[in-house]
Amino acid sequence: MDLLPTQEQQQIIDTAASFLANEFPINQLLGAPNSDTRISREHLQKIAQLGWLGIGLPEELQGVGYGLSEEALLFVELGRNLMPPSLLGSVLGGRLAGLCGEHERMRSLLDGDIKVALAISHPGSETKIGKSISGEFLIYEPHEADLLLVADEGGAALLPLKSMQTTEDDRCIDETLGVSSAIAKNVPVLCYLPAENDHLFLRGTILVSAMLLGIAEATLARSVDYAKQREQFGKVIGSFQAIKHYCAEMAVRCESVRSMLYHTSITFQAQSPAGVFDACSLKALAIEAAQYNANTAIQIHGGMGFTREMDIHLFVKRAQVLGTLFGGERYHLRRLLCEPVVD
């Protein structure tokens, strides 16, 4: 038993962190409203060349051959660096296509030739996901997207974005992403994978939780740095308990979610009965941690935190968006309560 990353896993983390900091510095996002195209096709292909999009896919499916743990570690770094959720669309889409036996499509997804947008059921609308889909959906990052990934507890599907009736791009709470609505009436999908074969919805839940952890950790780190520098009343504000205790609360949330992410990536991969229990617990905790930490970080940064000159607000907004993907807090808490006790 050793819950910490191995040396090899730590290498994945370090490589990802330094690549992202060099290639996609967060300050590029400042003052660039609606940069839905932050990841151009060339960028996506460059990321694909690192093998990231197939990191958790077995080698027989032309993946890198790592498991969910490595995939999750990568997504923590993507979340920390505010990389767009469509990368999750590519990873899950590639897996879906591969497991459905559509190897050509899988290859172009893993190579980054195709952009996959994520869609969720519109609140209050009855949606049906199967060999065809119906209902009203919210689509994140529709701009230049080729395919759409939809998933629920029953299964997951890929379909061409063009086959849906989409509205004009709407303004998204997260100005670095776009959002639009789409209505589908029995639109046939390209491929559909029932959850019995591979639970893509819960895998997405775990990977979004990893991105939320990245946000929780990034906002803690920024707050601690700021609290060590900013002086008032002749002292750095981090010496005041009011600020110090906020930071301690943020740190506890990071520790709790990181522990749960590691634990869940193992139990879920092993298809242990605890996998679902852990995934639902994880998502609820990750949403709370990311939102508490990002929101508190604004308060710690004071008036400057409220401006667009700093990047904290981007984390606040992204935490809200990620919270809606693959089931929100209430969804997962309700589901968790229905699960039997685990050891």
Binding site: M1, D2, L3, L4, P5, T6, Q9, S69, V224, A227, K228, K235, V236, G238, S239, Q241, I243, K244, H245, C247, A248, E249, A251, V252, E255, S256, V257, R258, S259, M260, Y262, H263, S265, I266, T267, F277, D278, C280, S281, L282, A284, L285, R330, L333, R334, L336, L337, V341
Partner: protein
């Protein structure tokens, strides 16, 4: 990252399980202090005879010398088996004993460690004082060197089970002129030493396990100083990291049991509007959140153990666990009151344990370092924020 146990470890788990099943006491622990003491000591003797006492203590002093994973497995199985909690044995097994192992000399180890494991003695703690609570280092109880003895005068407070203890780990000021952290010594004191007076404190939950202890020129041999004179602060800091490390593992599994029992209660309790408590959204979401948090407590413990195993030393992360767990337990008991509704007024009967647990829960975020002290430690030692 893995959660796997080796075949040997799994076999060890079976052994622990079987032994506990066959030997754990069938009758509940008596509430009465003297009877409780006798029960605790008898159970410790049984553990010792069976070869399960001092699982991580060196064999030379009667321990088993098990590694961290055997220790983890033992503690998990122990808690699951429903065997008696540490109760009065807590201090000797988790604080005084490990401190003497880490910082004591050979004579102190040989004298004091075996009796703890054999179930001959109960230990208690004399750290806090009326004017030195969270600011422990400002303690004033004076110890003057007189020949080969210390003469101790002052008072201590919050000493658990003092009137049922044989020995005490005591912090005294041996140098009044030194800076406050540099003039403290950690000493071993007999509880029947002349010049001591012990007064129980009656707490808000109906218990009287806490005490005030007064010292009027109490004589303690110099050889009872552990870790060197004026070095007591460092000795007690080493100790507090045991307290915030694996020592709380059993109570974490206890927390898991408690939340599951509470969910079961909510499935069977009707609210005043006639619905089952579990069908009330507000209650259901709170219960689910507590269930998720309790689950992460287990994961945090496993991560902490993995970290200690690699670094060889418990770090300040233990304070996060202590903070998280004690605050969580408090929230659990508050939600319990919501579920039992007006029955919260009754401390007896089938649901009486819940309001009783609520009353007792206030101790969790005070004892062993308040939540505020934990947040200071996390802020300063883990995050590097200035004092």
């Amino acid at each position: 990252m893995n959660l796997d146990f080796t075949p040997q470890q799994l076999q060890f788990r079976e052994q622990v399980r079987d032994w506990l099943q066959a030997h754990k006491p069938s009758e509940p622990r008596p509430d009465d202090g003297a009877e409780g003491r006798a029960f605790d000591l008898a159970w410790q003797k049984t553990l010792y005879t069976g070869g399960w006492a001092g699982i991580n203590w060196p064999k030379a002093y009667g321990g088993q010398g098990f590694d961290t994973f055997q220790q983890l497995i033992f503690l998990m199985e122990y808690a699951k088996s429903g065997a008696p909690g540490d109760h009065y044995r807590f201090n000797g097994l988790n604080l005084a004993g490990p401190t003497i192992i880490a910082c004591g000399d050979e004579e102190q180890r040989k004298t004091h460690l075996p009796p703890i494991l054999k179930g001959d003695v109960i230990w208690c703690q004399g750290f806090s004082e009326p004017s030195a609570g969270s600011d422990l280092a400002s303690l004033k109880t004076r110890a003057i060197v007189d020949g080969d003895e210390l003469i101790v005068t002052g008072s201590k407070i919050w000493t658990s089970w003092a009137r049922f203890a044989d020995w005490q780990q005591l912090l005294v000021r041996t140098d009044a002129d030194a800076p406050k952290h540099a003039g403290i010594s950690w000493v071993i004191n007999r509880m029947d030493n002349p010049g001591m007076e012990i007064r129980p404190i009656h707490d808000m939950a109906g218990g009287s396990d806490l005490h005030e202890v007064f010292y009027d020129e109490v004589r303690i041999p110099l050889k009872n100083i552990v870790g060197g004179i004026n070095n007591g602060w460092r000795v007690s800091m080493a100790q507090l990291s045991f307290e915030r490390g694996t020592a709380f593992m059993p109570s974490q599994i206890e927390t898991q049991k408690t939340i599951e029992e509470l969910i079961e209660l909510a499935r069977n309790t009707r609210l005043d509007d006639g619905r089952l408590a579990i069908d009330d959204d507000h209650i259901a979401f709170q219960l689910a959140k507590l269930r998720a948090e309790t689950r992460s407590l287990l994961a945090m413990t496993l991560l902490g153990i993995s970290r200690n195993e690699r670094s060889g030393m418990p770090g300040p992360e233990g304070s996060m666990l202590k903070l998280f767990q004690s605050e969580l337990y408090k929230r659990i008991t508050t939600v319990a009151l919501d579920i039992v509704g007006a029955d919260r007024a009754r401390l007896s009967g089938l649901t009486g344990r819940w309001p009783q647990a609520f009353l007792g829960s206030f101790a969790n975020t005070l004892g062993g370092g308040t939540s505020e002290v934990m947040r200071n430690i996390i802020g300063e030692r883990y995050l590097g924020l200035p004092k």
